[in-house]
């Protein structure tokens, strides 16, 4: 079960940053096929997430992301790191 706040925040970032309709933002949605992003968008997404949530994602981690669920998990893991200050307010 994902942290609801993380899910809401990531979805909000995706909706605002990439104008993706809310009903498409389901955990199993793949970034490229279902959400229509491409590899350049993936880099923008990385930077956008970092700036909006206050996380620092390394390049290798983001390359492994395939679905929205992967992003939720990634953010949750980063939030669990000692000293992490994640911004989850919308």
């Amino acid at each position: 079960m994902n942290n609801e706040k993380v899910v809401a925040k990531v979805n909000d970032v995706m909706r605002r940053g990439f104008e993706i309709p809310a009903d498409k933002l389901i955990p199993s949605a793949t970034l490229f096929e279902d959400l229509g992003l491409d590899s350049l968008d993936a880099v923008d997404m990385l930077v956008h997430l970092e700036e909006n949530i206050g996380v620092k994602v390394d390049g290798e981690q983001i390359m492994k992301v395939r679905t929205l669920q992967d992003i939720y998990t990634l953010v949750e893991n980063l939030a669990a790191e000692p000293g992490a200050h994640i911004k989850l307010d919308i």
């Binding site: 605002r16 940053g17 350049l40 956008h48 700036e51 390049g59 983001i62």
Partner: protein
């Protein structure tokens, strides 16, 4: 209306390098330059009977078979009369409050000089330069390798901060300061700077440092001649004000004089922020991308002084001079006011020949300064800026003179004439909103996976320039190679470059 394979916006080193490669490969290219002469930051200007360079100070890797020599040879743009080898016994002079170091040409020589100055740090010095040489090997567009890229080594080189490498090797603050000196050439502080970027800078300079015998303009001309010989076109006084988008692709480029240039590809060497502002359908960019571009950090603005000093015996025209305060390079880009002393300055001879008995030494002198000091005048017209702008420049110029005077007593009194440029001047010439010389801040955050270009969200619009790879003349040229490679395929070009390199004994 003539249609081109590639329409290129701007004629800086990157754009011209791309144009030379593409035209060599048989593509029809058209370069559009807004100014009256090509070259971008290679521009020279004349004052007081001397020629002054704005950005062309010196370049590395230019010995036979080295990367820049190889690339220019490939482009049919290598003219030895354009360059002059700098003093091999000491081409870069680093002045610190307590000591001075001169870098001679060659790794062994630099290591010797540093070991003599820091005898207890011999192992650290040896290790540092060994790591530099290892790091540069993993960049195929620098070493011209057509083999498969070792992604792990590349990642390590660009995600490790320079400060981490240096602090792991030595705790000696003076040695650290020396190893960080070239941060002034990319404008990124050691804790943000990718080690790989710093490594390429140092490697190229140490191996083959050259100045410009006839200024940056002469270098530009060799590239333009090569392009024209290949059938390419370079048009001046063509200020591009729009990139026309049709069905998500770039269709044509519009100039302010009404000219319209259609291309299968559009390639821009202008600052990325400026390039994206030219796109007439901003909806091709996601809000996330627009936000990213708005927030992306720029390297600091640069202030320039171009003058004549009577201290002809204090300077060698075949050396460059770096001056540092005790503030430390980590704090070099934190500013007080225009009325405070800079923490670093760079002086470059404007002419690489100085005849015996010469009475004047022409130089350019640069120090970092934020756009904020001059932002009141950013919308005033070039050449028509008011007196208070000039007064503001004078305030900082005096501080720079005072700082250099700590190393060369009476430097201020030795000046007969000078003119100055500010970040606002740079904005006019290179479109950097911070008046920077190096484009976007080449930190780890903006490098590697997060780097801009050459691809953009418009499939047939590519960007090039020092903001897309690494700064400096060599960085710009390699960026141009990489962007052209995106159109024609990089591997065959790298193979040809490798053959030239090998044929020249490297």
């Amino acid at each position: 209306m003539k249609k081109y394979d590639v329409v290129i916006i701007g004629s800086g080193v990157s754009s011209l390098t791309s144009a030379a490669i593409l035209s060599k490969k048989g593509y029809s290219v058209c370069v559009l330059e807004q100014h009256t002469k090509p070259g971008g930051y290679m521009h020279c200007f004349s004052r007081f009977g001397e020629r002054f360079d704005t950005g062309a100070h010196y370049v590395g890797a230019l010995d036979r078979g080295q990367p820049f020599h190889t690339l220019l040879t490939y482009l049919n743009a290598y003219d030895p009369s354009v360059f002059v080898p700098l003093d091999p016994t000491g081409f870069d002079v680093f002045r610190f409050p307590e000591f001075e170091i001169q870098f001679p040409k060659g790794y062994a020589q630099v290591i010797n000089v540093l070991t003599e100055r820091f005898p207890t740090e011999a192992l650290a010095i040896q290790s540092f330069f060994s790591e530099i040489q290892t790091a540069v090997q993993c960049f195929p567009t620098y070493e011209f390798s057509d083999e498969t890229i070792d992604q792990i080594s590349v990642m390590r080189a660009i995600e490790t901060p320079l400060s981490v490498v240096v602090q792991r090797l030595t705790k000696n603050a003076d040695l650290q300061a020396v190893l960080y000196s070239y941060c002034t050439l990319h404008g990124v502080i050691p804790s943000d700077a990718p080690f790989g970027l710093h490594a390429i800078m140092m490697d190229s300079i140490i191996r083959g440092p050259y100045g410009f015998a006839k200024g940056g303009d002469a270098f530009t001309e060799t590239l333009v001649r090569a392009i024209q010989k290949n059938g390419g076109e370079v048009h001046l006084r063509k200020r591009v004000n729009r990139i026309e988008i049709e069905n998500g692709n770039a269709k044509a480029v519009h100039a302010a004089d009404g000219g319209r240039y259609e291309g299968k590809w559009v390639l821009s060497g202008c600052h990325p922020k400026h390039t994206f502002q030219l796109v007439d359908r901003q909806e091709v960019f996601s809000p996330a991308f627009r936000e990213r571009m708005k927030n992306i950090k720029e390297t600091v603005g640069i202030f320039g002084i171009y003058g004549l000093s009577s201290q002809t015996h204090s300077f060698n025209p075949l050396k460059n001079y770096y001056y540092f305060s005790n503030q430390g390079i980590e704090n070099a880009f934190n500013f007080g006011s225009p009325n405070s002393k800079p923490s670093a300055a760079f002086l470059c001879p404007a002419s690489r020949t100085l005849s015996a008995g010469a009475e004047k030494f022409p130089f350019s002198l640069h120090a970092a300064s934020p756009m904020g000091w001059f932002s009141d005048w950013r919308d005033s017209s070039f050449g028509k800026r008011p007196d208070d702008y000039r007064q503001q420049k004078e305030v900082f110029a005096e501080q720079v003179f005072k700082f250099v005077g700590e190393y060369h007593p009476h430097f201020r009194e030795s000046l007969s004439k000078y003119v100055t440029s500010s970040p606002v001047t740079n904005l006019h010439y290179n479109g950097s909103e911070e008046g920077s010389s190096y484009g976007i801040y080449h930190s780890i955050q903006n490098t590697g996976a997060r780097a801009l270009g050459p691809r953009t969200h418009v499939p047939n619009l590519l960007i090039t320039g020092q903001s897309t790879l690494f700064p400096g003349i060599l960085g710009a040229a390699v960026a141009g190679l990489r962007t052209a490679g995106h159109i024609v395929g990089i591997k065959p070009i790298l193979k040809e470059l490798k053959e030239i390199k090998l044929a020249n004994g490297c």
